[in-house]
Each structure stands twice: as C-alpha cells, then as structure tokens.
C-alpha cells in the first residue's frame, strides 16, 4: 500500500471512530435541552404549588425549585423503578444527581406533605440521558395516595404540543377515579376544568395559547424572527375527599408550540414542486437516433 493510500485509510478510520463515538455516546443526550423547563423564579400564572426544573444546565445534575410548597426532601423514581431515593431540599431548591446505569431516561420527582387532614402531593418528571427501560412502570407506580400521571410521556424529539391531546390517569390508592374534575392551567393563562372518564382518564387538549401562536394556527403571518419553538409550563390539579381526609395532587411539566408554528407548508410544497420540475427532464425518452 502506498504511503498516500495508507494515510488516507488511517485518516478515514480515525474519522469513522470519532464519528461513531460521537454518535452512540449517549445518544439520548441531545434531548436534555428539550426536557428543560422554561421556568421563571416568579410564578404568577397559578396558585398551585410547582416543582420547576432550573433553566441553568449542569452535566449530571438537574436542579429544581419548589414553589408554594414547604418540604424537607423530595423523592426521585427512576424509569426502571427498582429503587427510589430522597434528596434534601435546601432553600426551596433541590439538586438531583444522575445515578447513571440502566435506569431509563425519564425520572419522576415528587414530594408529599401532610398537614392535619390535608395531604398534598406535588410532582413532575424530568429526563436524564440514561439507557434503560421505557417509563411505563414509573408512570404506573403509585407515587402518592391521590396520583395524577401522564399515560405516556413524549418520546425523544417529541413534546406535549399545542394542538395535541394527551391522556392523564387519576388514581386514588391505586384505583382509577371516574368523573373527577381536573384543573388544567398553563403558563400562557389558559385555565380549564375537565373531568376524567369511567376509566379515570382525562384527555388534556394542549391549547394554541402562545402569544403569537393563535394567529399562526389560523394560517396568518407566521411570525418571522420569533424563537424556533417555545415552551411553557402547565399544571394539573386534582382534589378528592375520602375518609375525612382531603387529598390534593399536582403534576406540572411543560408543553411547546404546535407542529406548524413558524412553518409554511405552502412554501415547502412549492420547493418540492420546483425539485420535481428540475428532475422532470430525466423522464423524457430518447428520441430515435438522438439523446433524451
């Protein structure tokens, strides 16, 4: 093999090694920013207590702020639910370390407080770039007496999005609760009260309520110069009284703008047609004795 060829081969090999290392690494890692909360230290859109993920990123950690709830510790359930652990709260803030391993990407974080007859749980979910099982077991696990959990969490690259419906399950002591009101509030000031069906499931219609989105959803100007995809928080609250005890449960997470926010389908179709027209001469048959 000539030196030049050998050099080419080694260069190509190194290139490939570097590429694949980068590729597989933890391939879920890129989603970390997608699952970050667009939280603000001041919560003025709901009276419900919240567990909001800090905007500032730190590799291997997730920071949370507790709003409207006093707790000494929070409990974290990983995706594989094999173990849960507690993390101490300091100055209404908590820092959760990624324990790695095959725990799955999604984790559940929550705290339960008890004052006389009032039992209140506050919970949320977050993502670490870990391999492992899907969060089915984590979601089906009873984390508090009155529990409201999403039936599914968005896959990688996906979100709860405006214009989509996502199901949430309400359970009391593990049993689905039918016809119970669920208060749905968003950071963009939407407030709705919906009811669970006979199976304890409530379907939440995420609204087009981002400031510029109501227009784009109707097909008007799509807002040049706006951010690519916006996020906002939401919280679900459910309340039930039983055995002289009052249970209140909150779940908060985030949702994003709709699928066609700042997008123009007509423009896409136009460019695709332009591509088709450009390729069309390839379809002409050859003339007799000449070229196509």
């Amino acid at each position: 093999m000539e030196i030049r060829q050998r050099f080419k081969f080694i260069a190509a090999l190194l290139l490939g090694l570097f590429m694949t290392a980068g590729a597989q690494a933890n391939t879920n890692d890129h989603s970390h920013h997608q699952h970050m909360n667009h939280n603000s230290p001041v919560i003025n859109w709901t009276e419900a207590p919240l567990l909001t993920e800090d905007k500032k990123r730190a590799r291997g950690f997730k920071g949370f702020t507790l709003h409207g709830v006093q707790a000494e510790e929070v409990t974290v359930y990983p995706g594989n639910t094999e173990e849960s652990w507690s993390v101490a709260v300091k100055d209404n803030a908590v820092k959760v370390k990624n324990r790695g391993g095959m725990k799955g990407g999604y984790h559940w974080i929550g705290t339960v407080s008890e004052q006389e007859n009032l039992i209140r749980s506050v919970s949320s979910a977050f993502y670490f770039p870990n391999p492992g099982p899907a969060p089915r077991d984590m979601l089906s696990l009873q984390k508090s007496a009155l529990d409201i959990s999403p039936m599914k969490l968005p896959r990688e690259h996906q979100h709860f999005r405006a214009g989509e419906n996502w199901d949430f399950l309400v359970r009391l002591n593990g049993n689905p609760v039918a016809n119970i009101p669920v208060i749905f509030e968003t950071e963009n000031k939407t407030r709705k009260i919906l009811k669970t069906n006979q199976g304890g499931v409530v379907s939440i219609p995420f609204p087009y309520d981002f400031p510029e989105e109501s227009e784009s959803a109707e097909g008007h100007d799509q807002g040049h110069g706006h951010a690519r995809r916006k996020k906002a928080g939401f919280v679900l609250t459910v309340e039930q009284e039983t055995d002289n005890k009052q249970f209140i449960s909150h779940f908060n997470f985030h949702y994003t703008t709709g699928a066609f926010y700042n997008k123009n389908l007509a423009l896409g179709i136009g460019f695709a047609l332009f591509g088709m027209i450009t390729a069309a001469p390839l379809l002409r048959k050859a003339k007799k004795g000449g070229k196509a």
Binding site: L13, M19, G22, G268
Partner: protein
C-alpha cells in the same frame, strides 16, 4: 400458471418491506416508546421526525453529540476532558458492533429511504420511463459528494454550532436537509416536515433545500436507481468500516469478466469496480450489499456475499438463467414473446 421461486432479490425485497413497515410504523404496533429502546442502534435513515417510527437514525445523535457534547464542552473547558470521552468510548463499542457485523447491508436491506427509492424505480419501470445509468467518469464525480456530506453537514457544521461560530440551526445540519425526514414522516401521515420553517433565514434555506431534494429525488428515482443513496453520508460512514465488516462482498478473478460486465449493469449504484476489479477493490465504497451483482453474475462462485466464514449467497450460472427470465439486470421486465414480434420493442433505455 407461473411458478414462484424465492430469489435473493425477492427475499431482499421482503426484508426491505418488513423493515420499512417496522421502522416507519413500529411504534403504533409495538409501543409508544419503542424507538427510545431500538433507537440509535440501526445505522439506517429511519427518521426521528416520523412520529410513529421505531428507530432513530444515528446521524441525528451524531450531530447533536458533536454540537452539544463535544463542541460546547471544548468551548466550556478549553479542551478535552476524560469524563467527556469515557462515556463516548463505552457507547462507541456498542455502536461499532453493528457497523462491523452488518455494515453496508443496512443500506441495501434495512434503510427505509433506500427501499422507497427502489419502489419508485420499480414504478418507473412499470411506467416505461427511461433508465439513466451513470458512466464511470460520472460515478467518479458523484462519489466525493457523500464524503462532503459526512464531513461538512454531519461533522463540521454541528461542531461549529457547538463552538458558537455557526448558527444554532446548523447543529443538526444534515437532518435539516435530509429527504428522509420528509418522506418517512409523510408516509406516517404527517406533513409537518415538508413545511418550511420561517423562524430564521437559515431555517428557511435549510427547509427549502430539504423540500427541493425530496421533489427532485421522487422524480429522479423513476429514471435513476437510488439517486440519494449516492450522496448519502450514511453510505460514507459505512464505507469507513467496510474493511472490518464481517458481512462483505467477495469477488474472485475470472477470465470471463473482461467480456461480460453484467454485474455493473445490474448494480443500482453503477459501480464499475465490481466488473473491472477483484479482491478487496471490488467491494467498493458505494456498495450497498444488495447482492444484485452476485445474482446477475453468470459464472459460478465468482461473486459472493459472506458474513464471517459463511457464504450467504454466491453467483451461479443456473441461478442467473432463471433470474434474467424474471427481471433484466437493469431492473426492467424482459420483453414478452409474441407472435407478431412487436413486443420486443425497446423500453426507452439509454445510458
């Protein structure tokens, strides 16, 4: 009544169709989170933007890793850190296994975009459209493009976005222009990826290129075999590892080859080396291990596909005779014999 025989071509088409349905719609049948499990393992253009896909193309995380992990980390830390490289190395081993065992077979047997292009080409034969083969000098001009796609769009731009010297949108530059993003998500019933983002000039340019490429490929595939595969960075990524691959194309020297060349005519990538060369050089960087050259080689045991010590398929004269009666090397149906003799008219093929 025609008798049905299972050929390598039919077997491959069956595998392709199963994989197409599985990869494009797998999550609807096999669970919402399936793609998070299978994900990133299969080196084929199965797009994460397909809402019901069961696999994510490795090129997405590749770009994100370079952008967020490597690029941003270098900026943050002013250099590499062991803690950054260690997880990369561990997961690299997992990734490397698939590249080593099957390698280019992912292109020819698994990739949904490859299958869709082949189906469009079959439609082109059905509609009697002309076939344009690339001549060797044209093939030589096209080949560097896939390397430029790999180095430029998959590596350099995401890295530069991580450094902060390229727009944020370039963080997944290849995905921004990848036609699979539109085609596979549209196959799953979503037009979202066809829509061009107007949130920034860069986004609009990327979206326009992506939509243009889709339009061009859909029409071009009626007359050119595998038009996008020829410039696909996944092909070049596989090419890097093909010398280590357990699954490979093997050709031994044969005196009849000089006067034949049917293998190149059968090759969907118009690879002249499979005809002109033998040994390792015949297993070219453009090969997708589809096996057509082996199917249409009229000499016994000259071309074969092997996985490790096992021969998956090898050429034979008897097989060749049966195969050309079904489909011609260039993919068109053989002209039916008729009493009037009119049926043998040419199907408008040119080169």
């Amino acid at each position: 009544m025609k008798s049905f025989s299972m050929t390598l071509g039919r077997f491959r088409l069956t595998v392709q169709l199963i994989m197409l349905v599985t990869l494009l719609y797998g999550a609807t049948v096999m669970g919402h989170y399936l793609s998070d499990m299978v994900s990133n393992a299969l080196p084929a253009l199965s797009c994460a933007y397909d809402p019901v896909a069961s696999d994510y193309c490795v090129l997405i995380p590749t770009q994100h890793q370079l952008n967020h992990r490597v690029g941003e980390a270098i900026v943050r830390m002013q250099g590499f850190a062991f803690s950054m490289l260690l997880p990369l190395l561990f997961t690299f081993i997992n990734f490397f296994i698939l590249f080593v065992i099957f390698n280019k077979a992912f292109c020819g047997w698994i990739c949904p975009l490859g299958t869709i292009q082949e189906l469009i080409f079959r439609l082109g034969r059905f509609l009697g459209r002309p076939l344009h083969n690339l001549k060797p000098h044209q093939t030589g001009k096209v080949r560097p493009i896939k390397w430029l796609m790999l180095v430029g769009l998959v590596m350099a731009l995401p890295l530069m976005a991580g450094f902060g010297v390229a727009p944020h949108e370039a963080g997944d530059a290849f995905c921004q222009v990848c036609p699979s993003r539109i085609i596979t998500s549209m196959a799953a019933g979503s037009t979202e990826q066809l829509a061009v983002s107007t949130s920034s000039v860069t986004d609009t340019i990327f979206g326009a290129i992506r939509a243009f490429l889709v339009g061009f490929i859909v029409i071009a595939a009626l007359a050119i075999r595998q038009p996008f595969c020829r410039i696909c960075p996944m092909l070049s990524l596989h090419a890097v590892f093909r010398r280590f691959s357990l699954t490979r194309l093997v050709k031994v020297q044969n005196d009849h080859c000089d006067k034949c060349g049917i293998c190149t005519k059968a090759c969907p990538m118009d690879i002249p080396e499979i005809w002109k060369e033998h040994g390792p050089k015949a297993f070219n960087e453009d090969c997708t291990l589809c096996g057509k050259c082996a199917e249409y080689c009229p000499q016994d045991s000259v071309i074969s596909i092997k996985t490790g010590p096992f021969t998956v398929f090898k050429s034979s004269r008897d097989y060749y005779k049966k195969r050309v009666k079904q489909v011609k090397p260039n993919g068109s149906k053989p002209a039916a014999k008729s009493k009037t003799g009119r049926a043998s008219r040419a199907k408008g093929e040119n080169t």
